[in-house]
């Protein structure tokens, strides 16, 4: 393919340019503020302007650059910034506010004291301060595709090239297309969208069609509520995904590619569009890439928000301007996809691994993770866990290590109850399943799936019936309506679950629920329907007692289901002199009795939990009762 010019030589030129640009700034201090969506939500934009203002006020504008970077994955500490000052290791600071910014500028940037008492970790080994690798989280974490997220300027292609970005492409272009395919196949890279189908085989199936036109689509329609790694990668390191797509195109002979990105991710759309434009300028996209005869270009298609469009055939329908309904397979997309042509469709993460595999080799990749699932897994760790955020661990790490070592356990000394993996298609696993290693096959055996990588930790305060109902409500709402079992079965299951959360049901209810769940699983065309019953089936399997408590005793053990609880002020504990609960009630349900004690008017109470949070800890007088019977009524009944 490379008969016309030497792509390595052209790349070297680009690389030298990028290095020269970086060298110019070598003597400058850098303040890198994390401004991905999560950071912005925590106030990163304000922090950035605080830095700029303070730096100007100290007359340091010439000596310090303030730049925006993506997300480092330490969501619990947002807003964050890294300060990289020559002569010191780069240091990361979390939970920033205006006062701390002032202090850092004054002491560290103007002075020479890194204020370690406020630092989270250093980013390079040194003799003074620990790095992230020295924490339990760092021991287990092994960052491959998240490696550069949060450290490079996503809006500047040179900051990607200077870290040897696009080098894999230059090397691949110097070889035959088959070598890329062979490398990806040898690495046994399994699709990170959830199902784990080997990417190399998918590509090969496309090539075998010998079609004049092949399309490549990157699935960034991340619809799982509670998973945001695709967004984070596209916002923080878009060129990694783009390079992966170009390599795939070179291997398969495609000339056009699309990134299907949710419209709910405006920042990701902006960053990717900028990245595409910059890559075109450098001739890394477009006609005769790096001087060779290979042409390829990318476009963004904005998805309009339908969970079912994560399903390959539905996604293609949606790109063709139809409703996103799945089709029966075969024919698979590799045979007949977008515009009826063979199509490669892979997840954001799958494409992101490709440049690394091409650059470092299949053997390197297979050295990480387990033999059947090589590489790493990316999870968004949320819920009742101390260190929330994005984590990347080698396949084969156990759930226990992930929750207790990487996530640092549950906050406030609460007891662990379950972990929900894989979003609405996944399942809830109890304490006893925590030693399951994370890989595609083990998780499936345990009843959950790898899915999109959402991992929600639940504590004793979470009701499993309510959680199952939540996920089913989601899939029921997102069902496209094509298959009867998915359309009506999930609705019927939802009705039953809603009844259970209200304490209604009899001995047959759970049996009926199980039967329905199996029917929905067997009677649906696509994975949305086939996996929709998973949250219900796994909670029924592991937490049947909770279901029974709801039905038989009208009691919610976790005190969550609002029809089965009431709020009560314990008279001996209530201080007559405090009025906090009265003020906190949004419906004026709390009143002062003649004897000075407070009481809740149960008719007016909407069970919003406000008073319970507001009651000062020294009194702690407000409690939740389930079943919802006031003590005086209970006493009367007992008589």
């Amino acid at each position: 393919m490379s008969e016309t010019a030497n792509p390595r030589k052209i790349y070297d030129h680009l690389y030298q340019e990028a290095c020269a640009k970086a060298d110019l700034k070598q003597n400058k201090a850098k303040v890198m503020v994390g401004t991905a969506t999560c950071g912005v939500a925590a106030g990163a934009r304000q922090i950035k302007s605080d830095f700029v203002r303070e730096i100007e006020a100290s007359g340091l504008s010439e000596a310090v650059d303030v730049i925006e970077v993506g997300c480092m994955g330490h969501c619990y500490a947002e807003p964050m910034a890294i300060i990289d000052k020559p002569g010191h290791p780069p240091v990361c600071y979390g939970k920033l506010d205006e006062g701390l910014v002032h202090r850092l500028v004054e002491d560290f940037l103007a002075g020479d004291d890194p204020s370690y008492e406020y630092a989270m970790a250093a980013l390079e080994r040194n003799d003074i301060f620990p790095t992230f690798e020295d924490f339990p989280r760092g021991v287990y974490e092994h960052k491959l595709i998240l490696e550069q997220c949060g450290f490079i300027d996503a809006r500047d292609i040179d900051s990607y090239i200077v870290r040897e970005g696009y080098k894999a492409l230059a090397e691949a272009l110097d070889n035959q297309p088959e070598s890329v395919l062979e490398e990806v196949k040898a690495a046994n890279l399994r699709g990170r969208g959830g199902a784990g189908f080997p990417a190399g085989l998918k590509w090969e199936a496309c090539i075998k069609q010998k079609s004049d036109e092949i399309y490549i689509i990157c699935n960034a329609d991340e619809g799982d509520p509670g998973a945001f790694m695709d967004r984070s990668i596209l916002e923080s390191d878009p060129h990694l995904v783009i390079e992966g797509m170009i390599l795939c195109a070179y291997a398969t002979g495609a000339r056009n590619g699309y990134l299907y990105i949710r419209a709910e991710y405006p920042l990701a759309v902006t960053h990717v569009q900028e990245a595409i434009n910059q890559a075109r300028e450098k001739n890394l996209l477009g006609k005769s890439i790096l001087g060779t005869s290979f042409d390829f270009d990318l476009e963004i298609f904005q998805g309009s928000g339908a969970f079912v469009c994560g399903e390959a055939t539905a996604l293609v329908n949606s790109m063709e301007g139809k409703m996103g309904m799945p089709e029966s397979r075969p024919p698979r997309l590799a045979e007949k996809g977008y515009r009826g042509k063979p199509t490669v469709l892979n997840n954001v993460k799958t494409f992101a691994y490709v440049p690394l595999i091409v650059r470092r080799g299949a053997d390197w990749f297979k050295g990480i993770g387990t033999p059947d699932s090589p590489g790493t897994a990316v999870f968004s760790l949320v819920g009742k866990v101390v260190n929330t955020g994005l984590v990347e661990v080698p396949m084969g790490t156990t759930l226990r290590q992930l929750v207790y070592d990487v996530g640092d356990g549950l906050p406030d000394g609460k007891a662990f109850k379950a972990v929900q993996i894989g979003g609405p298609s996944g399942g809830c696993l109890p304490e006893s399943a925590l030693d399951v290693p994370i890989d595609f096959d083990s998780l499936q055996d345990a009843g959950a799936i790898m899915g999109s990588g959402g991992l929600v930790v639940m504590s004793e305060d979470d009701c499993m019936v309510s959680v199952a109902r939540y996920f089913l409500e989601f899939t029921q709402h997102e069902s496209c309506g094509k298959c009867t079992f998915c359309r009506l079965g999930t609705k019927h299951m939802l009705d039953i679950l809603t009844d259970i959360t209200r304490g209604k049901g009899d001995e047959n209810t759970l049996k009926l629920l199980e039967e329905l769940a199996e029917d929905v699983r067997d009677g649906s065309l696509c994975n949305l329907g086939r996996t929709a019953p998973n949250p219900v089936l796994t909670t029924l399997k592991y937490f049947r007692d909770e279901y029974k408590a709801h039905i038989e005793e009208g009691r919610c053990p976790a005190l969550v289901c609002r029809d089965l609880i009431l709020y009560y002020i314990e008279p001996p504990k209530c201080s007559k002199l405090c009025n906090v609960c009265v003020g906190s009630c949004p419906t004026e349900a709390i009143f002062t009795r003649d004897d000075g004690l407070k009481e809740i008017d149960q008719e007016k109470c909407v069970k919003c939990d406000n008073c319970l949070k507001a009651c000062p800890p020294e009194y702690n007088a407000i409690v939740k009762l389930s079943p919802p019977v006031l003590p005086q009524e209970k006493a009367r009944k007992a008589k």
């Binding site: 939500a41 925590a42 509670g226 945001f228 709910e264 904005q302 339908a306 929600v456 939540y470 919003c608």
Partner: protein
């Protein structure tokens, strides 16, 4: 929802302009709907009819798409837009309670716009800020840890702003009358 004065003309102009640069292919239908919504804030029935004519598809197909995808809204956004996140993490710490509080205070249900077009309320699936749950997006600003008390605070801010603008309007009117005299 009733169209306001001059809205009909605005809709026609906007749709005409967007269709002018678009090839009448079914593939372009979703991008066109997205562009129209970006301009008008929602998809009025009139706009959908005109788009159907422009792209040569049945109006029912356009309506089908608009109702199939979550992104499209059929009623106008309020002056104050509130989106309550109902992702897993938010749900677990009481996103539903927050949503109910807004419904109660705004006197509308989720997915609706108040008749005076001051408020609109939506539920969204995960804005990706799970660590600050429950999360609410108020006029594009993300607010974390929103309890019912905070809902009251947000609503008070809205009411303050409404008062200010009506106060300003009143003053403008007064000034105009004075000028006339």
């Amino acid at each position: 929802m009733q169209l306001l004065e001059g809205e009909r003309e605005e809709i026609l102009a906007c749709v005409g302009e967007i269709l002018k640069d678009t090839a009448p292919k079914r593939e372009n239908l979703i991008p066109v709907l997205q562009k129209v919504q970006a301009r008008l804030g929602y998809l009025p029935a009139l706009a959908m009819e005109k788009i159907a004519e422009g792209i040569h598809v049945a109006a029912a197909d356009v309506y089908g798409l608009a109702t199939f995808y979550n992104q499209f809204r059929l009623n106008p956004p309020g002056k104050h837009q509130v989106k309550v996140c109902m992702g897993t993490a938010c749900y677990m710490v009481g996103g539903g309670i927050t949503l109910e509080s807004f419904e109660r205070r705004m006197n509308i249900k989720e997915g609706e716009t108040s008749p005076d077009r001051l408020y609109s309320l939506e539920r969204v699936a995960c804005v990706g800020c799970c660590t600050m749950a429950p999360v609410v997006v108020v006029n594009d600003n993300v607010e974390g840890k929103v309890t019912p008390t905070r809902v009251d605070g947000i609503m008070l801010t809205f009411e303050d702003q409404n008062d200010e603008s009506s106060h300003k309007k009143g003053q403008d009117q007064l000034k105009q009358e004075e000028d006339q005299q």
